[in-house]
């Protein structure tokens, strides 16, 4: 199961909400809320950093590098 938010697609089966993307995102477009990863698409630039650092490959960011 995956969902798309502007430039970011989250594979919810692979995402374990570790927060690495939130640490790397310069725009606060990815936020860990409780035990959930929340995407705020209007903040996404997109730069591709979240997908780059994701340990599980749960994020796809076609607009990024």
């Amino acid at each position: 199961m995956s969902d798309s938010h502007g430039g970011i697609t989250v594979d919810r089966d692979a995402c374990v909400v570790c927060g690495a993307c939130a640490a790397a995102c310069p725009a606060e477009a990815l936020v860990v809320e409780g035990l959930a990863l929340v995407v705020v698409p209007q903040r996404c630039r997109p730069c591709g950093l979240a997908a780059l650092v994701c340990p599980t490959g749960a994020l796809a960011c076609p607009g990024g590098k």
């Binding site: 640490a23 860990v32 950093l49 780059l52 599980t56």
Partner: protein
């Protein structure tokens, strides 16, 4: 929720750093609120769970048997060329049950008088000009948001922290300031002597290392931490799978632990007006190993002392709280700075040079004290082995600290 007398201190995050700060300040009869966004403190675990010697841990909490998964009796480093360096060092550390460990620290905060609210998340800081005066909080169960005012706000919200960014102390982490980590708790692995193992090599841990940390009863945390910029488009999980096939074939996977781990350089300032950052939120992890539990607790005590003194004086400006930054930078921050520079060079080495360097380092007298690697001795040894690194080190150091 705002009808009560305001808190003196609101702490964001009930990990080791936040719980310790909360306990220390609440003990002085101050009103402390400890916010934790998860429903349960310590769960799920996001850590390889190794800590240092008993006396280091017990400055902060009794290391009861139930908290200990396994003692660590020494270490083994496997260089990229397969060369093994092993040293028996009984008492060098412990692998703990991080869930119980964190819960013990949070319980100590509550015993000291702090109010713990799980399932409550910091959504933003309350600003009054430059002064931070508390936290906008969301009750995740009801969705309701409310303000909690406080004289001092403590950002202890971990690697994914936003509060030090809201306070202007920190930026997002660059990809090379993070280890992307993946780990399995493996059952049925061959573990000679409860040693901790570090495996180096570009093919299975580019820009980082793979580890085996004993958890007792034939179990171990087996993981990899990689630099995403050196990962050739592969994920930490893919590197973990390759490492498991090599180190623990046939082992049973029982718990997947995933996380980003800060290996960033220390912050220029740990305090703003009415705010301090502590623990991984403040880049206080060891930038060579990523280890951060004891560092967080040390930082917490330094922060708590400065916050308590500021509250006593009735003034919590960045200047009043600055003693915390200075003490950190004089002590742990100083060795972290050396580790940071050593890491930047060491993890960038090609495999054959890393093997050579590991051989050199293993021969350096005095590089290990009872607690592990001594950073300045390590830097000196790296430079001695490869004199041209001196220029690089000097450049890094003189290049100034980055925010």
């Amino acid at each position: 929720m705002t009808a009560h007398r305001p808190f003196d201190v609101v702490v964001i995050g009930a990990g080791p750093a936040g719980s310790r700060v909360a306990a220390r300040i609440a003990r002085g009869s101050r009103r402390v609120l400890l916010l934790e966004k998860r429903p349960q403190v310590g769960h799920p675990v996001r850590c390889a769970e190794a800590v240092g010697p008993r006396e280091d841990v017990e400055r902060y909490l009794p290391l009861e048997d139930r908290l200990v998964s396994s003692p660590i009796n020494g270490f083994l480093i496997v260089a990229p060329d397969g060369t093994r360096f092993q040293r028996e060092m009984p008492g060098i550390g412990f692998v703990v049950d991080r869930e119980l460990f964190d819960q013990s620290l949070a319980a100590a905060a509550v015993s000291a008088g702090a109010e713990l609210r799980t399932g409550h998340q910091a959504m933003g800081l309350i600003h009054d000009g430059n002064r931070i005066r508390g936290v906008r909080v969301k009750d995740l169960a009801s969705g309701a948001e409310y303000d909690e005012h406080a004289e001092v706000t403590v950002g202890a919200d971990g690697v994914e922290s936003l509060s030090p960014r809201w306070a202007g102390l920190k930026k997002s982490l660059r990809p090379d300031e993070l280890f992307a980590c993946a780990e399995e708790l493996i059952e049925g692995i061959d573990l000679p002597g409860a040693f901790i193992e570090f495996h180096l090599g570009r093919s299975f841990a580019p820009g980082g290392y793979a580890w085996v940390f004993p958890k007792g009863n034939g179990k171990a945390n087996v993981g990899v931490g990689i630099n995403p910029l050196r990962a050739d488009g592969k994920t930490a999980v893919e590197y973990l799978n390759a490492f498991l096939a090599r180190r623990a074939p046939g082992g049973k996977r029982t718990r997947l632990v995933i996380g980003g781990c800060s290996v960033a350089r220390g912050l220029n300032a740990l305090a703003a007006d009415g705010f301090v950052a502590v623990g991984e939120a403040a880049n206080q992890n060891n930038p060579f190993s990523g280890g951060g539990i004891i560092n967080a607790l040390e930082g917490a005590d330094m922060a708590a002392s400065a916050v308590a003194a500021a509250l006593d004086r009735g003034s919590a400006s960045a200047k009043d709280l600055g003693a915390y930054t200075r003490e950190w930078r004089r002590t742990v921050g100083k060795s972290n700075e050396a580790f940071y520079h050593a890491a930047r060079i060491f993890y960038a080495l090609p495999d054959e040079e890393m093997s050579r360097m590991a051989r050199e380092l293993s021969r350096v007298p005095g590089i290990f004290d009872g607690k592990g690697v001594k950073p300045l001795v390590m830097v000196r040894a790296l430079v001695a082995a490869r004199p041209r690194l001196l220029v690089q080190f000097a450049g890094n150091w003189l290049g100034g600290r980055r925010r």
